[in-house]
């Protein structure tokens, strides 16, 4: 022992290289050791439910900051870091996630994206909500602005998942859940979407209520486009049911005698009251145009295009609004097609004959009142008459043989006169026209069949 003490007095020179060795060790090992400890600490808290976890290590001392979702979870995480081998001290900067009152969650949809905002109780629930949104919205950008907060009501996630399903049904709008009350606003993506959302809200978990529901239905749109180049009438948009669909398609066939009707209509609920009547009348106005389009949006009718002559344009502008059911509004932007070049009487006769071969002037049964379906045809006939201003035109009425001859004679005269009256109203001089009734004396077909009778009931134009 005495020798050891004696020798130890001579050990000090080794301290100099030891100090050098210590400096080298400090220089080369500090950072790798800190990284090793940080990695171990991060791995230790991996299974803990935390947010904003940050672990910094200086020497062997760790600074641990994180947001925990419960006091137990917070303590457990701190203990996990403290128990990492090599960690000397842990500076505990952890805290509990703030409690939200009221607990608000929201989803807002605009044209290009859906933004999820407000509070979410746990990372797992937040991830599930985002996943559900991305799956349900199929390609639409989902922006996450949710922040964590404690205090979510029971069954929060079930309620929010249901609300996320509804966001997919909106074109734009916002859904807000405040504690247990739901507020909805915006516009449904499709017709029937609003009703579907109303129905889905009945499946909200018990205790959740609807504070306000201001979801609007999209406009109920019907469109018709008359294309003189393709000689087509294209119908697009919505009709309330198959019966109205068939009725409108039939009306289009009657009113547009020369055009091929392309029917792209689809049945959708939510039609405004008086839809079928309004559309039928508006189609009648469209049939009088050379080219034009009709847009019916909810209870608003917009008609634009070119009329065949001034008188027709004025009549359409004046009558469209009056003909519509109550509560409907009309906007007519009608211009007049440039007048066609004048022609002589022979060409005029040819034009009358060609036009009358395509369509037939219809009258109400046993009456001289011209059917509204024939307005388009009569406008074309008036336009032809305007092209031959010097020619005289005989308008001849004919009936079938059914009924009394005298009555038929009178009816044929009145019908011929009605056509002349139309021409005069269109702005043509009355002295150019002569209305003659022939009753059933000049049939062009047999009167034994309905088909033959229909052919015999006619108006002929003779240009001189």
């Amino acid at each position: 022992m005495h020798g050891l003490l004696k020798w130890s007095r001579k050990w000090w020179p080794g301290l100099v290289p030891l100090a050098v060795l210590w400096l080298l060790a400090a220089w080369y090992s500090t950072v790798p050791m800190e990284q090793d400890l940080a990695a171990s600490a991060t791995a230790a808290v991996k299974s803990d439910v935390l947010d904003k976890t940050r672990i910094g290590v200086a020497g062997r001392d760790a600074t641990f900051s994180a947001d925990a979702f419960s006091e137990e979870g917070r303590r457990s995480a701190v203990t996990s870091v403290e128990s990492v081998a090599g960690i000397r001290l842990v500076k505990d900067d952890t805290r509990l996630v703030a409690e939200a009152k009221p607990y608000v969650w929201s989803a807002e949809r605009d044209v290009v994206r859906v933004t999820l905002g407000g509070n979410a109780p746990l990372p797992a629930i937040k991830a599930r909500l985002l996943e559900a949104a991305r799956a349900g919205l199929n390609g639409v950008e989902v922006v996450d602005r949710m922040t964590f907060a404690r205090g979510a009501p029971p069954r929060f996630d079930a309620a929010v998942l249901l609300l996320i399903d509804q966001i997919a049904r909106l074109k734009e709008g916002k859904i807000v859940l405040s504690d247990k009350s739901v507020s909805l606003s915006g516009m449904a993506r499709e017709l029937g979407g609003r009703e579907a959302i109303f129905a889905a809200m009945r499946s909200l978990p018990e205790g959740f209520t609807i504070a306000s529901n201001d979801i609007a239905a999209p406009p109920y749109v019907f469109q018709a486009n008359k294309d003189p180049v393709g000689v087509t009438l294209t119908l697009t948009g919505n009709v309330p049911d198959n019966a109205v669909h068939a009725a409108l398609a039939a009306a289009a066939q009657r009113k547009f005698f020369g055009e091929k009707v392309v029917d792209n209509l689809k049945a959708s609920i939510g039609a405004p009251r008086g839809f079928a009547e309004a559309v039928t009348r508006a189609l009648g106005a469209l049939s009088r145009l050379s080219t034009g389009s009709l847009v019916v949006s909810d209870r608003e009718v917009k008609l634009s295009g070119d009329a065949l002559y001034d008188g027709a344009a004025n009549q359409i502008r004046a009558n469209l609004g009056n003909e519509l059911p109550q509560g409907w509004t009309a906007k007519a932007e009608i211009s007049v097609k440039p007048a066609a070049a004048p022609v002589d009487a022979t060409v005029c006769q040819q034009l009358f004959t060609e036009t009358m071969a395509k369509g037939k002037i219809q009258f109400d049964t046993a009456s001289a009142a011209i059917s509204a379906d024939s307005a388009g045809l009569l406008d074309r006939l008036a336009e032809i008459a305007l092209r031959c201003p010097t020619a005289s035109i005989e308008v001849n009425g004919h009936t079938d043989s059914q009924g009394d001859d005298a009555a038929n004679q009178l009816l044929s005269e009145k019908r011929a006169q009605a056509v002349v009256d139309f021409m005069v109203k269109a702005g043509l001089p009355p002295d150019r026209f002569k209305a003659t009734g022939y009753g059933s004396t000049q049939p062009v077909s047999d009167n034994d069949t309905d088909e033959g009778k229909a052919k015999n009931r006619r108006i002929d134009f003779l240009v001189r």
Binding site: G3, L4, K6, W7, S8, R9, K10, W11, W12, P13, G14, L15, P17, L18, L21, W22, L24, A25, A26, S29, T30, M33, D36, A58, G59, R60, D61, A85, G86, R88, L89
Partner: protein, 98 residues
């Protein structure tokens, strides 16, 4: 401690070897070495540093470097003791006989 030894075993082994060499030399080195007073001062310094390390009063990297230094000093001293003892036992005592 176990972590530090595991992580720095190479450096500690260096300290130990240095101590062995120094202990080996010290047995036959001429001169008186440190005075008793200086030895006491050195011991007091080590005790103070040990107390600081055990009480964990030096924070962060400085605390780590203190721990590392003391650990290396410990390895050095163990090496010195072993070196001196080995030299004394197996070589110094046999020399007069030879």
């Amino acid at each position: 401690m176990a972590y530090l030894i595991t992580f720095h075993w190479g450096w500690l082994a260096g300290g130990l070897l240095l101590g062995l060499a120094m202990g080996w030399i010290a047995v036959v080195q001429h001169g008186d070495g440190l005075s008793r007073a200086n030895m006491q001062r050195a011991a007091a310094l080590v005790v103070i540093l040990l107390a600081l390390a055990i009480a964990r009063l030096v924070p962060g990297r400085w605390g780590y470097w203190l721990d590392l230094g003391l650990l290396m000093l410990g390895a050095y001293l163990v090496g010195c003791v072993c070196g001196s003892w080995l030299r004394d036992r197996f070589i110094s005592r046999q020399a007069p006989i030879a």
